[in-house]
Symmetry: none
Subunit: 224 residues, 4 copies
Amino acid sequence: MDSTTSISATGSRFERRKQARPGELLEAALALFVEKGFAATRVDEVAARAGVSKGTLFLYFSTKEDLLKAVVREVIAGRFAEWGRELDSFEGSTEELLRYCMQVWWRRVGDTPAAGISKLMLCEAQNFPELSDFYRREVIEPGNELVGRILRRGVERGELRIPEMQYAVKLVLAPMLFLSLWEHAGGLRTPQPNDFDQQRFLSLHVEALLHGWRATPSVPSPAA
Amino acid sequence: MDSTTSISATGSRFERRKQARPGELLEAALALFVEKGFAATRVDEVAARAGVSKGTLFLYFSTKEDLLKAVVREVIAGRFAEWGRELDSFEGSTEELLRYCMQVWWRRVGDTPAAGISKLMLCEAQNFPELSDFYRREVIEPGNELVGRILRRGVERGELRIPEMQYAVKLVLAPMLFLSLWEHAGGLRTPQPNDFDQQRFLSLHVEALLHGWRATPSVPSPAA
Amino acid sequence: MDSTTSISATGSRFERRKQARPGELLEAALALFVEKGFAATRVDEVAARAGVSKGTLFLYFSTKEDLLKAVVREVIAGRFAEWGRELDSFEGSTEELLRYCMQVWWRRVGDTPAAGISKLMLCEAQNFPELSDFYRREVIEPGNELVGRILRRGVERGELRIPEMQYAVKLVLAPMLFLSLWEHAGGLRTPQPNDFDQQRFLSLHVEALLHGWRATPSVPSPAA
Amino acid sequence: MDSTTSISATGSRFERRKQARPGELLEAALALFVEKGFAATRVDEVAARAGVSKGTLFLYFSTKEDLLKAVVREVIAGRFAEWGRELDSFEGSTEELLRYCMQVWWRRVGDTPAAGISKLMLCEAQNFPELSDFYRREVIEPGNELVGRILRRGVERGELRIPEMQYAVKLVLAPMLFLSLWEHAGGLRTPQPNDFDQQRFLSLHVEALLHGWRATPSVPSPAA
DNA sequence: AATGAATGAGATTTCATTCAT
DNA sequence: GATGAATGAAATCTCATTCAT
């Protein structure tokens, strides 16, 4: 019932590298869970991919579900703290901040196996309520909050005019979720050649939103 | 040991029309697959929810996977033919058409258990390539095509100016997918009270996009 | 538990033809049991081949096992009585009688689907002790007895000299069983062209045995 | 609930040599398949008889059918190579060789659980064509070939005169098959006390055949 | 700490048998 | 009598988990 995944009990996430086992297992599990889904991934496979025996896996994670939790926690860990700091220290206009955030997100998350976690959580949420709660608390709500802060910054600085903040936040996030899922949708993706540039997609979306949110649309966009 | 729902007040358990069985099973399967995912749903549960025994299910669907296929096909069947006709006979402006389509989609699909199919397919795509192909052919590509036709209509009638159609189509669809998934995300959804109106969300999104696509930004938009 | 197969309760086996159902079912069952074995034959198949529904089959035979019993009984019924009479009225030498019996057996049994019953019984004997007892009493023991009578006839008439009767009987029967089984051995039979003549095989065998049994072998074989 | 055979007196259930498992399972499967037939034997039974759990069986044999194949192969493995060599190095007359082979066969096969395989194959041939092919190639055809070689040896050395070799081979084999089957015919065997000596049966049969095949019946055999 | 053989609960699927019509 | 939809016990096979070494 209770997990054994408190790897970070004594030290930082760098200390853990000393005994690389858990890390390799988490990596393997992440890849396989994302690739095949939780139910369709056998623990033997995870162990094999990590180069250890099945028994060893259970030395570190008492349960397959426990392994999933650890994977999710690992991928998530401390991401938002970091981003929060970056946001606070950003100097430019809010428009620029928003664009910047999107591009950074794409490089650090969207274009990363970590994005598969979003899909994984979406698929497994019903089956693991406890884990869902964790993910909501640690990812979804902070994510919403982060975007909310950015938008409020724009409003407070007189740059943006956003009447219904609740919708605005989701309008910003929707295309990000879209990309996260689409990149891991396997056989569903129509074989787009390579003329689809995700960053461009995000840019176009942001620009469309900003179009309607600019406080003084007359004196156009930023700079001059 | 214990028998099924005792509807035997007036008659036997044969009273229910036999032809209805497959439908009832599909309905039960749809609900459970959407609620718990394919792997986590046991066929006994589906049968029980449909008020029949496990064996009966296999009378109509030779395999659990077969049942999934049938569910997907059932929900999809002929949806796009209908919509194509509506689109062709629409008289108003393309802006109006786009708004209309979104609202109609929400009422006929998004706000319906059928929307859960999108999520289901997203989750199970890897495991059932054949089914994925079907869904892509029958839903995703026609969906893209439909939106593409609407946008091209606007361009051809001189109402819209859309330079990069490939992105435009996905910009339109992203929030719809977002809603479909979000409504079935279970424990991931932060318990929004009732102040979130999905139709409003879709409207805001469409307006933002149209803002940038209107052919005669003469008066408004940025610069001059 | 108890069987319902006493078709011959009131009348002869000809009366039964009036309602042909049971007969058609028995015929179908014989063919399928012989072709695929008891366990691998589904009752649906039997019913289908007989042109009736599964339910109907159970109207006549309370159990699949019961059906098997009826098939065996049907094929066996009264065969030995008939043969016993033929034997008693045979006029020629015992050598001729033996040859005659073999040829007749081949035409009436060996070359008939009924021969498949031997194989069937051999295969299913362990699983149905009661049926085995029946078959032993009704077929094997009478068969041994019949051959025994023939051989004893030869001894008594001074035609044959057979020291160990118990072995002699089985020596006569072995090639008959061999043929019965071989003809129904499916994929085991090496695809002999058509240069194997079962009657010749039986003849050669009988002659070999007679060779050693003739009381006055000097005055060679028959005719002259 | 209840655990397996409590051999835990001295040690654990791991004490048994792990390599022995497949062998023990094959032994158990052979016994049960021969005793009850393939279809009527449940894999749990096999496992139980081998002193392991159901799951363990599937660790070594991926399928029940696979287990059957392995049993057949195991029993067959390399038997004919050995015999071929013996035959080549035999020094005596062909008569003696034939008698010798029969007796050896009885001791090494006929009077062994391995003889049950013949019956098993006969019964299951229809259901497992691939396995039938194997058995035909590995047992039936080599067996025929072996007997053929013996008989041809006699002919070539001027000891025997055999006009129709195809029948001759089968005449030799028929009583062997007869015994193989009869010994495993369960309830079909009339409870012969112990006055039936299989070796004697085989001898009598061989002598009868040789009677007719001897090249120089001039002096010996019947009459004088 | 690491292994991997062993386990057994649980899931899907089959099919003889029942029974309302 | 005949039907065929419905049943549910039973069988195979999977795989997370355990544990002696």
